[in-house]
Symmetry: C2
Amino acid sequence: MSTLGITVKKSEDFSEWYSQVLVKAGLVDLRYNVQGFVVHRPWLMRIIKAIYRLFEEELEKTGHEPVLFPLVIPEENFEKEKEHVEGFKPEVFWVTEAGDEKLERRLALRPTSETAFYYMYSYWIESYRDLPLKLYQSVSVYRNESNTRPLIRGREFLWIEAHDAFATHEEALRQVREDMENSGKIIWEKLGIPFLFLKRPPWDKFAGAEDTYAADTLMPDGRVLQISSTHDLGQRFAKAFNVTFLDRDGQRKFVWQTCYGPGIWRIAAALVAIHGDDKGLVLPFSVAPIQIVIIPIYYKEVDKAPILAKAREVAETLAQKGYRVRVDDREGYTPGWKFNDWELRGVPVRIEIGRREIENKVLTVFRRDTGERTVVAESDLLPTIERLEVDILENLKRRAKEFFESHIVEAKTREEVIKFIKSGNIVKMPFCGTEECAMDLKEKTDGGKVRGTEIDFQEGDYGKCAWCGRPARQVVYVAKSY
Amino acid sequence: MSTLGITVKKSEDFSEWYSQVLVKAGLVDLRYNVQGFVVHRPWLMRIIKAIYRLFEEELEKTGHEPVLFPLVIPEENFEKEKEHVEGFKPEVFWVTEAGDEKLERRLALRPTSETAFYYMYSYWIESYRDLPLKLYQSVSVYRNESNTRPLIRGREFLWIEAHDAFATHEEALRQVREDMENSGKIIWEKLGIPFLFLKRPPWDKFAGAEDTYAADTLMPDGRVLQISSTHDLGQRFAKAFNVTFLDRDGQRKFVWQTCYGPGIWRIAAALVAIHGDDKGLVLPFSVAPIQIVIIPIYYKEVDKAPILAKAREVAETLAQKGYRVRVDDREGYTPGWKFNDWELRGVPVRIEIGRREIENKVLTVFRRDTGERTVVAESDLLPTIERLEVDILENLKRRAKEFFESHIVEAKTREEVIKFIKSGNIVKMPFCGTEECAMDLKEKTDGGKVRGTEIDFQEGDYGKCAWCGRPARQVVYVAKSY
């Protein structure tokens, strides 16, 4: 871990700031010798495990069960759904050899697991009694991406994939809404990351889906990041894999399917990027590996023992209440160095204990999000921490929401679209609905992409398309993206 | 899930019994179309997640931190330690293509991750202050094994690998002991699986280790199964990857390393095989996905509502105490069918609630391990469950230990060795210590293997080798193995 802090301001050079935070806060190491593959260090793994836990608990509450499917998918499965294979094949890694021998057929490293799951769904689903079937797995997936960026785009990245099958299309569409709510309960409520949940235009769907719905957040550099998506797969895969059920009416029917993918990696990226500040990470209690760090401060050897004893006593009190606490008693580092180190890593609350604190039976409490330092009576510590847990999350949410909402700007004209996209906004605009216009817009705005409509949106007469001037049938959100 | 129970007795055809339990209890599905790759179904995944949690908590208590390293290891890393590559290369899966292109160099799917971790350790370790370094990851690994067997030997299997680095060999050897204790605390104390912790003979070491220590349990068919192992790597990998540190004395030195691998898959296999009985799985509370199942029993429609209400009330009471409870209110199945179904899956406690129970304010409580049914006053339920949680584990431990210890048999002669191995025992015998003798023994006992000595064992004069009659320098354990 570096003793150097971040050397650029987040607002001035976000890209460099992001790279520095990832490395200096001990989240990733990029020196592993396969390009696009990242080493996840302990601080990141603890955050990621906490994010996984939040999603898994919520998925289980809504009837999903955990499974684990093989990493490898035979080429023949992979090729069963035409659009799916066309979309994914260019970036698939293939296992072709074992020991000294060539395999008889190539095996894909899962880029996503529809073609593994649904191969088995044809065995598992026989009757309406087997429905709904709601399974998920928490795994890494593999895609030979270019322009990799840690936690944003990798050749190996972490996600959850939930694969659900239903008797009717209506139930599948209700699942899309449940997935949206699941994302809202965690990504917004627990992590304070705001997002728009949009129905993607037809040319930007998941390969093999009837419709794709996705959560876009806004990164500090004005580009949107898709952090979760859910797909109405219709009956396409059901037909490709012959997944049928005997319905109550005695008829054999194809199931209706959805799949949902919270992007655990990207949610971690958004957490770093959106809440972080010039000093480094800022974490909410929900996912902070250490929620409260206690720094003993003494300058004379005689003070050391009583101050350390008090620090440990306070830590014990907090740990008994379930908080993740650490006393930083490392020798050879100044309190100031320790302050910076834990601020860089985003620990939400710091407690400082020195002679003055012990003499006055108080504790100095510092909150990372605002930088405020307050002195509280020892007897007030627990209620103070409980309040801070709530306040810090509320503050992070408020700040993130302010940034997010102030960057959603309505545009009516081509000039406004160009100007607002250039200045890093999400543009809300009337739109003709054609791919041709979207592609022209993208080219002339240096990457502005039509991200889609709100999910309950009804087509209608919305005046003129802000880009091409033809009649507008939709209102869409447009932004540069990762 | 099948409605059919197990059709063979465990004591009469263990192999068939094991295969049936795995499938019928809904643990695995073997129909996935890549040989040796298994689909982990929800019941198994919940058990496995619980086993992982036990190990991770214990590892973290002893200073290990979680990381996640890439799945792929470049061929050049893999080749750095000569014995290691010779040992593993014949069974490595290779990624050679991405999309339409051939990769410039082959990438191994990790068969184990020494050569990924230690590549980075050369960056992370600079001074004695960076030591000890204790990291672990919970992942699948890949080996092109033949004779695969679900949870016992797979081409993809689940484990934990902990990789530790120290300043001295003494600390590394202490770590071996800590790893043994870690295995004991969980595999024996929490899961009730007895094992011998043995120092393997030199010809049976982990490829690249100075010494290998491993936990062997005994399966019901009289073959031992290695369920966890830890390796004194000495400085071999440190030299191969140039992992050095500046010591307090100003000298640059190579680190001393250990790696520890609890075999999560195999621990699950032992759990199934050792505690299971003719009706199926028998699970201790610690890892049971459902600890208590409540079966409402009514034959008249008028009884349904009050009985279901009582079942839910009892479930709520137990859930509030932290128990994993389910009310089985599935329609269209008889109580008897439900009894069999949950017995097959190994749920430790069943509560039956019918008219009689409600009228008498009692509950009928069934424990899976003994098949005993007792009637308890409703007000006594919580203490009864608390006692059962302890009693069931104690009973499983007692039974497993009895079986295990009664199958460790001392032999002094060749005839005894042959007879005792043939009848499915672990033979304890004086041994000359030579590989030549071990190989001869293996051939003539149809697979009996010298598993090693106890870890604190001192060489000396132990009479004559029970196999070859030459002077014995050791006392070893010998058994057929998986």
